[in-house]
């Protein structure tokens, strides 16, 4: 059964600099255009924002101003400057404490770095 790729959890500021792959970002919905199926996700603490293509996830439950978690693939436009996330999953996470979330995320990343294990897999 071919599974969708796992979305590695990232903050919006990191997501802007990744090249490719599946990611999971959390942010506040700043703008949502149903007709063009575009949305903008913003980080409440920094002013970074990310473009999201919502063709697979329309109609959206929740309105502008809610917190959303997006899982999808990062793609770069032909110009190469702004990344856009093709959302597979848009999840409304109103009520989530973003400060705690970021703290837990940092702890998790610290743990993964401290593992210092090189895994060599033979399939």
């Amino acid at each position: 059964m071919d599974l969708p790729k796992c979305g590695s959890v990232q903050e919006i500021s990191n997501a802007l600099s990744t090249n490719q792959g599946s990611i999971k970002v959390t942010g506040r919905l700043i703008q949502h255009d149903c007709i063009n199926r575009q949305a903008t996700l913003g980080d409440p603490q920094t002013s970074a924002s990310l473009c999201v293509d919502t063709s697979l996830t329309e109609p959206l439950e929740g309105s502008v101003g809610s917190l959303f978690q997006v899982i999808g693939e990062v793609e770069r436009e032909d110009g190469g400057d702004t990344p856009i996330v093709r959302a597979r999953i848009m999840r409304c996470v109103d009520g989530m404490d973003l400060l705690m979330y970021n703290r837990a995320l940092r702890n998790q990343q610290k743990y993964f770095q401290s593992r210092n294990v090189t895994l060599v897999r033979h399939n």
Binding site: P4, N107, Y111, V120
Partner: protein, 281 residues
């Protein structure tokens, strides 16, 4: 799937690292008995145990039940079960949730059940309606993007590893994800990356297994049987006695390797030779 690890910053003794706990002592490890909260990435990378089917190793812990929490990214409905792909940020794994036969039979509505519970206090009635809602949701199945909590055994289905859920539930509160994300590094550091058995016990175990890899008490009888059968095929004697048997070179080697520790083992070996007398050729 083979996994080789090289630990750069390890405090464990390098000679002990590759020895697994013997099959008979797996039950001493708490990981054997509980639903282990783990990262999905690690569950996929678990090493299979060749001695016990259904058992997997994480470092030196035997694991066969896991507890995962993640977002549903793929959903498939079959006649008897739902198959979800769950993503927790580190990996994706399929989970199989069997449909409950009771739901097919019961035609009772939520309202009628609540009517019957009129006499209960307010708090319990609210709890009851919450439980009935989540049961109804389970019947319909979770949708894409739901945060689910699944506990179950690891099985291999059509070559792929999957979790067969014995408990599954949808979580409404998104903060539960944060709780799990903060719990896991602590669990890993304090429990999974550390050995359960004390160091002295592990050293003794590795000493006992180090002499002759793979030979333990329960394997002595089959080993003896093999040696005796080859002896009989080669020599074709008319009569065999216990003294004769203990003089066969293969048997003396076996005795030496197993009995290095002391007379206790010697006594076990003599008893086994006596048992061998009753083996029919």
């Amino acid at each position: 799937m083979d996994v080789e690890e090289m630990e750069v910053d390890g405090t464990e003794n390098h000679s002990l690292r590759n020895d697994k706990i013997p099959k008979t002592l797996c039950g001493l490890d708490f990981c054997f008995h509980v639903f282990n909260k783990m990262y999905i990435d690690d569950i996929i990378a678990l090493e299979q145990c060749d001695v016990i089917p259904g058992m997997y190793w994480y470092k030196r812990h035997p694991i066969y039940k896991v507890d995962i929490m993640g977002v549903v990214v793929k959903r498939q409905e079959n006649v008897r079960c739902f198959i979800y792909a769950v993503d927790d940020g580190t990996g994706v794994i399929t989970c199989c949730c069997w449909k409950s036969r009771l739901h097919e039979q019961s035609s009772e509505d939520i309202e009628t059940t609540l009517q019957r519970c009129r006499n209960l206090p307010e708090v319990l009635r609210k709890k009851m309606s919450g439980v009935l809602m989540s049961e109804a949701k389970k019947k319909e199945g979770y949708s894409l993007g739901d945060l689910v909590h699944i506990r179950g055994k690891i099985k291999i289905f059509r070559g792929e590893r999957e979790v067969v859920a014995s408990y599954h539930n949808k979580l409404e509160d998104p903060n539960m994800e944060i709780v799990r994300m903060s719990e896991l590094p602590v669990l890993y550091r304090n429990l999974y990356d550390v050995d359960t058995l004390p160091k002295k016990v592990l050293e003794e175990l590795s000493e006992m297994s180090g002499q002759r890899k793979g030979i333990c008490h329960s394997e002595i009888v089959p080993e003896l049987k093999k040696i005796l059968v080859t002896f009989i095929e080669d020599q074709q004697p008319e009569e065999i006695s216990v003294e004769h048997v203990s003089k066969i070179p293969g048997v003396t080697d076996l005795l030496k390797e197993v009995c290095w520790r002391g007379r206790m083992h010697e006594r076990f070996i003599r008893l086994d030779i006596v048992h061998c007398k009753s083996i029919s050729f």
